[in-house]
């Protein structure tokens, strides 16, 4: 009987083994470390920020409103608790891993996909940048730089999942990290500045927005397949999930949804081409070709991606990164270093303005008059002098400022862009 059992077991395994292999190749598991798995350990061990008063303070701690206030004992105690330390330990471990696979399936889950890793990445960023601030304030610049750089790596990993929303959210993480480290640049010793410059240069390239946007095509296919196989109740629910309101869902469901979806196919098929256009041409194409078709289709209004906003977000992120690199170089070598940092959105270098305890750099990239993208290096105690800030950032209550980019872009500047 033993022999029979063995043969039977072998037979069953022989049938089952292809499934196992297909699900997760053992060789891939063994040979390819996945940063996402380590990040999830960091997320799981991270103390909650939401429900505690201290947590809410931490959420605010890296904002430009509070960055001029030193990290106090209450915040430091939060950082020193084992859960925080372990979480940040895992962040550093994950940041060393190149490959990051979050295991999302946009084609299968479509619009119902959840992005818990993005939410958690934003919380982990807050914890990490708070500790970076504590390090900088106590002269531990190397450790502070490690926290900042690994937060930027976290952003790039989080934005590599092929989802436009994740990539946009990752830009915000990255820019906040840049904002924090810039605030401490003037007091950083030369060797730390050298290290920071080196590490910034070594960062992997962020995901490309045009490629990420191309994945939006999956959403239309997902919706059509789900809608076709759904009963009326489920169809209404799908429409509700798509529109965000019961009334709009009923209106949409009463139409020939599949016909509307089919009409959108050529437009979705054109996403890769549209999203790879230079920004000024994209704006023209959006206005003349895309928007009329999208607005005339009730389904298109809620399903077609915000290509222009996404590409603008990418442009701003690029500008911020270049500003940070330039600011580090200015802190190392003085304002003369700017000649090596041309503003890609202007005719010359970034604009430089010094103040007591720091300096500000400004790009020509602006989307509204007097609203350029800028970066302040240094902390300016107290409220910002409205007249003292280039670009008219009147009323900003803090020392670090990042300029808004409203959607109504100035054509003159857009034309200068080569992205």
């Amino acid at each position: 009987m033993k022999c029979t059992s063995r043969i039977l077991t072998f037979g069953v395994l022989a049938f089952a083994s292809p499934l196992t292999t297909e699900a997760a190749p053992p060789s891939q598991r063994a040979d390819t470390p996945n940063a996402a798995l380590v990040y999830w350990q960091a997320f799981a061990s991270m103390p909650r920020l939401m429900d505690t008063k201290t947590g809410e303070r931490i959420i605010d701690a890296s904002s430009y409103q509070t960055i001029d206030k030193p990290v106090d004992d209450e915040l430091r105690k939060f950082l020193e608790q084992p859960a925080s330390r372990y979480s940040l330990h895992m962040l550093h471990r994950a940041a060393k891993i190149e490959h990051c696979e979050w295991g999302l399936d946009l084609a299968e889950d479509g619009g119902e996909l959840l992005l818990p890793h993005v939410l958690n990445a934003r919380h982990l960023m807050r914890l990490s940048l708070l500790r970076a601030r504590d390090h900088f304030e106590h002269g531990r610049h190397i450790q502070g730089i490690d926290d900042v750089i690994d937060t930027m790596l976290l952003a790039r990993h989080a934005g590599s999942d092929g989802v436009t929303v994740s990539l946009l959210a990752s830009f915000s993480i990255e820019s906040t990290a840049g904002l924090v480290v810039a605030a401490y640049l003037p007091k950083m010793p030369p060797e730390s500045l050298d290290l920071l410059a080196k590490q910034l240069a070594a960062l992997p390239a962020p995901a490309v927005m045009s490629r990420t946007l191309a994945n939006e095509q999956y959403l239309l296919d997902w919706f059509i397949s789900r809608y076709e196989s759904a009963d009326p109740t489920r169809r209404l629910r799908l429409c509700r999930n798509l529109t965000g309101s019961d009334e709009e869902a009923k209106t949409l469901a009463s139409a020939d949804v599949l016909k509307l979806a089919t009409e959108l196919r050529p437009l979705f098929a054109d996403i890769p081409h549209l999203s790879s256009l230079p920004l000024d041409r994209l704006e023209t194409a959006a206005k003349t070709q895309v928007d009329p078709k999208v607005r005339s289709n009730p389904l298109g209004k809620v399903l077609f991606p915000q290509i222009l906003a996404a590409r603008r977000g990418e442009a701003v992120n690029q500008c911020r990164n270049l500003l940070l690199v330039a600011a580090v170089d200015v802190a190392r070598r003085g304002p003369a270093a700017l000649k090596d940092h041309r503003d890609p959105f202007g005719d010359g270098p970034f604009a430089y303005a010094a103040y007591d305890g720091g300096f500000e750099l400004t790009s020509r990239l602006e989307f509204l008059p007097h609203k350029p993208i800028g970066l302040r290096a240094g902390i300016r105690p107290g409220h910002l002098d409205p007249e003292g800030t280039p670009g008219g950032t009147a009323g900003l209550p803090s020392s670090v400022w990042m300029i808004v980019i409203p959607c109504l872009a100035r054509k003159s500047v857009l034309k200068e862009m080569s992205i």
């Binding site: 037979g11 619009g111 789900r226 965000g244 977000g313 670090v400």
Partner: protein, 157 residues
């Protein structure tokens, strides 16, 4: 205590019976056993030993065949199910939709909810991601374009 002691009135009968029995037994013992009978007995014994082994082998083959058939059947069923199955309804579809304003703070917004929020403004999208905290980083809130600047209401607008 023997029968003689129990029935001392019949010693002659008892002696006669003993003699007769002894003779019979001696005759039987003295009679040679036929070789054919011995061979038959041995073969019978071996046959008895062989029969269960054959049955066991038959059972093994039957079990193996049945097992393989079951495995094949399971595989066919599984493959058919994979190919033909209807799209799986998300078990959490009720919570995946674009959230109402009074939704629980810990609810994770769906991708479509984030996309809809992005239609309003990037700040709205980030706020949705941070829902519950109510404190999207102000620095971040300025990081991107605002489709409707007047909605954001931040100092930069």
């Amino acid at each position: 205590m023997n029968n003689n002691q129990q029935d001392p009135s019949h010693p002659a009968v008892s002696d006669e019976l003993s003699k007769t029995l002894r003779r019979s037994v001696e005759r039987i013992v003295a009679e040679p056993v036929p070789g054919e009978a011995v061979r038959r007995s041995v073969e019978r014994y071996l046959e008895i030993d062989r029969l269960p082994a054959q049955k066991r082998r038959q059972r093994k083959w039957l079990a193996l065949a049945a097992g393989l058939a079951a495995a094949a059947l399971l595989t066919v069923c599984w493959m058919g199910r994979t190919i033909d199955r209807a799209p799986i309804e998300s078990p959490v579809q009720e919570v995946l939709g674009p959230p109402a304003k009074d939704d629980a703070p810990d609810q994770i917004p769906s991708l479509q909810a984030c996309r809809l929020a992005l239609r309003d403004s990037p700040e709205a999208m980030l706020a949705l991601l941070d829902r519950g905290a109510g404190h999207p980083l102000m620095a971040e809130s300025c990081w991107l374009t605002s489709v409707q600047p007047e909605r954001s209401g931040g100092p930069d607008h």
